[in-house]
Amino acid sequence: MTSVLVVAAFAAAYVLIATERIHRVAAALSGAAAMVLLGVVDARVAFFSEKTGVDWNVIFLLLGMMVIVSVLKQTGVFDFVAIWAAKRTRGRPFATMVMLVVITAIASALLDNVTTVLLVAPVTLLVCDRLGLAPVPFLIAEALASNIGGTATLIGDPPNIIIASRAGLTFNDFVANLAPIVIILLVVFIGLCRVLFRSAFTYDPERVAALMALDEREVIKDRGLLLRSGIVLVAVMVGFVAHSALHIEPSMVALLGAGALVALSKLDPPEFLEEVEWPTLVFFMGLFVMVGALVEVGVIGRLGALITDAVGDQYLLASSVLLGGSALLSGIVDNIPYVATVAPLVQTMVDAGNGVGHSTALWWALALGADLGGNATAVGASANVVVIGIAARNGHPISFWQFTKYGSVVAAVTIAVSWLYLWLRYYALG
């Protein structure tokens, strides 16, 4: 009976999160409260259970990276890089879009997607303004690029952080398995941009002077802080790469980096906490308690056993379904609760395959499906919603269907290419 009530409470909270009838933080906390009232979760489980409680590694990794971004933002480095890159293209629209897309993708691999588009969108509007170009295609391309680029690393997209923590995968595992396909996808995406946004590439030589007149050196607000931040960021990246050898969790690397930046930057708390999204962190906590309750009552275990029996050793089929299904669902609902719920099920399947070879590909199928599927619709990923908001505030509204028209094509193509990659690397040649 308790299992039925837990599933009902979970489903109700999930529906509220998906439909956004109430704020997702309130929905997740209500779901978590229901689990406590049903007697499935107590303080010991919620706060101290590694398997069914709040995953503090995820929370503190996110917190650390948000603090790092807050400090980096103060330096003006993103504006500098974007203006510098746009000037290298001498105002040729497609080359400018390629530069901005590549910058966004790389930044998204190292930082949070939403933060990346928040930092890149204003300078994109400036560049388009100078060149007399319609900014909408550029902004849409950047949102899509941020979701593609974020797929490459453990820290690039919140679903990857959840997967890494649940599966015990390292930063290097993500780089080795996902970065190669993300590079391929980025090349394919740039080709798609050439076709999808072809009408946006009108070149006006007379406007080029206005772009070239921009002085990118002026946007660096504090050169000393930029230097110190750069050194710490490199150290943090080295820490991520070496975290398994050093036996330090990624969350600790991020927190140490954040602490070092706070100490070196001498910024005040409101400044170094500016980019910390407290609602997101609380949302994650509620979500972990909700999913943990499903594990506690054995629902995940039973469901996992059923799926494992059904899959047998047909891991290619399972990977294909996971990739396609995750992409489809992530285009409609937030991919964070989706991955948090599905990760324990995937864990069961991977464990059944002794966690080797073909079975571990399931993790990559989940990551690729959840991360890239977000591109399918205007509401599929937080970065899309943020870009649409910025565009509207600047007098360039993007409708749901306008975004979805481009996003769905990009999602379909990137998922198809990802399937080919999974099949070739882990099944045909693996």
């Binding site: 504006d79 303004d129 002085d215 600047n394």
Partner: protein, 153 residues
């Protein structure tokens, strides 16, 4: 001292007034804002100087003020040319809040005027006597009256 005594005459500006003319009037008379009157001569809303800047400065530069450093004088001139062919109506926040106007009665005390300015964060209030506008009070004028005289050096 009452609002009537503190009030100063102010130039009439309507929503259809040329935006450049309105901005230049504000700058020339050193007023922190303008009172916009409707067809019936009643105060319609207030246009603070900051709204003129909000109209001129692109939202993306307001979001990321550091970008303004990359712009040269020519770009600045281009931004300010936006006022040409615009009217005061274009400068007003959309939609204007007609119910919440910084208006005081002519017999309001100076502290009442200060309270309205503080509550509405407005550098300017209109002073009315029934249906008739008798003038306007700027924050500078009010502070001049409220502050104790500076000690002689």
């Amino acid at each position: 001292m009452t609002a009537r005594t503190l009030a100063q005459p102010f130039p009439t500006v309507t929503p259809d007034t040329d935006a450049m003319d309105a901005a230049q009037t504000m700058a020339r008379l050193r007023w922190p804002g303008l009172i916009i009157s409707g067809d019936d001569g009643r105060p319609y809303t207030i246009l603070p100087g900051s709204e003129v800047l909000r109209f001129l400065i692109p939202t993306y530069v307001q979001d990321d003020p550091g970008l303004a450093r990359a712009l040269d004088e020519r770009a600045s001139d281009e931004l300010f040319r936006k006022l040409v062919r615009s009217t005061v109506r274009d400068l007003l926040p959309q939609p204007p809040d007609y119910d919440d106007l910084p208006v005081v009665d002519a017999d309001a005390t100076s502290l009442e005027v200060a309270a309205v300015m503080a509550r509405m964060r407005s550098p300017l209030v209109a002073v009315v006597d029934g249906d008739k506008v008798v003038g306007a009070i700027t924050v500078n004028r009010l502070l001049e009256h409220l502050l104790p005289p500076a000690p002689a050096s």
